[in-house]
Subunit: 208 residues, 2 copies
DNA sequence: GATGTAATATGTCAATCGTATTGAAAAGAG
DNA sequence: CTCTTTTCAATACGATTGACATATTACATC
């Protein structure tokens, strides 16, 4: 057997190079050659690990989702146990918004991928399933929070879940410098305050 | 003088062809040649009206914003006078979301443009200014609604404006068939209900 | 109806793209 | 050492791109 290389590791290295190209120059510049140059290897080497450009993009996106989940899991772990549902949702949202370098890289990757999904059946299915899965996770948290009396039972879990995911709509405002990152956080907290305000207690109060 | 053509009209025809290409095949396929083919003219003709591809894209995007504003103005006019601020905001949001063909075309054009703005200083400035202007309009409505006692004075106008704009974050959920258009409308109405519920009257009540 | 110019079509060019092909290092197995 | 297979660099090829140049068509004006 010849020199053995960790394929997964190489693919992740290339994927991160692709992230950087997408973040700095846009997905239009994410060609096999330019990603290879960013990664410091020949484009023949990239082809060795990804048969086609689409396969490279798909891996880079899956890797981005995975890394985002890991960041969320890590930050929830930091909170300590048991995490309050409000804090879990806040972590999820702040990791999906481009509020720090890692999150911005995966956020831009995600945005480019959603656009791609609109015209590519394969990518559409993958993106849809991933998004639907993330949505289910959030709805589970919302439902449990209602059961645990953190959220008013008058709220519709499905609608509130959709509104929480809608907060990613702050992304363009942040990216285009229309609002400051701090304003985005304020908006997220304001929405969570509203959601976790029980109708029987109109004024924000401690939940725990 | 030879044959005279309405330049503005020709440019709008080309812009609409570009919208269709962007909607059906993505902005990556919005080349001068393909847009020309979609418009049923030669690529030389397109270059007669747009010196560069970027000029074509810029015009198509400005035209999309303009048409969206016109749709909003038309639908507000249909409501009758004076329009309730809640209705005005609802119209704005429903025309920004991809809930019908015209809105979907301009929405996809807008999404592609935002991505482009992240790596093109010229487009960044234009997009930022347009978005900031739209945001100002909404904040004006919110502030007036607070003055007119339609929205609780406890609400922060800037934050509430950001949250309203964030509702465009429903777009990916709609486009990727994660939620139905009806669910998006329900979410918008739910958010508006919350916003227009005066704290002194915890239960939803008629405002007019 | 001759003429000049706007409108439109067609052609060319260098650059870049994705992908296929080829071959040379490299290194464990015999 | 020799063989075999992985790694990866180099190159070729056909297609497409934006931009520019050229050619043709059509019409308003004199």
């Amino acid at each position: 057997m010849p020199k053995q290389v960790d394929h997964r590791e190489r693919r992740e290295t290339i994927a991160r190079a692709l992230w950087r190209v997408v973040e700095q120059r846009g997905i239009a510049h994410a060609s096999v050659r330019e990603v290879a140059q960013e990664a410091g290897i020949s484009h023949g080497a990239v082809q060795h690990y990804f048969a086609t450009r689409e396969e490279m993009l798909v891996f880079a996106m899956d890797f981005a989702s995975e890394q985002t989940s890991l960041r969320v899991a890590e930050r929830i772990r930091e909170i300590g146990s048991p995490p309050h549902p409000r804090d879990m949702l806040r972590v999820m949202l702040t990791e999906m918004l481009p509020l720090h370098p890692d999150a911005r890289a995966t956020s831009r990757m995600s945005a480019a991928y959603v656009l791609e999904a609109l015209h590519n059946a394969n990518i559409h299915t993958r993106t849809r399933d991933g998004l639907a899965h993330g949505r289910d996770l959030i709805e589970q948290i919302v439902r449990q929070a209602i059961t645990d009396d953190h959220i008013s039972p008058d709220r519709d879990p499905a609608t509130e879940t959709n509104l929480l995911l809608a907060l990613t709509g702050l992304t363009p405002l942040i990216e285009l410098d229309v609002i400051e990152p701090q304003e985005a956080l304020t908006a997220v907290d304001q929405h969570l305050d509203q959601l976790f305000t029980n109708r029987t207690r109109p004024h924000p109060a401690a939940d725990a």
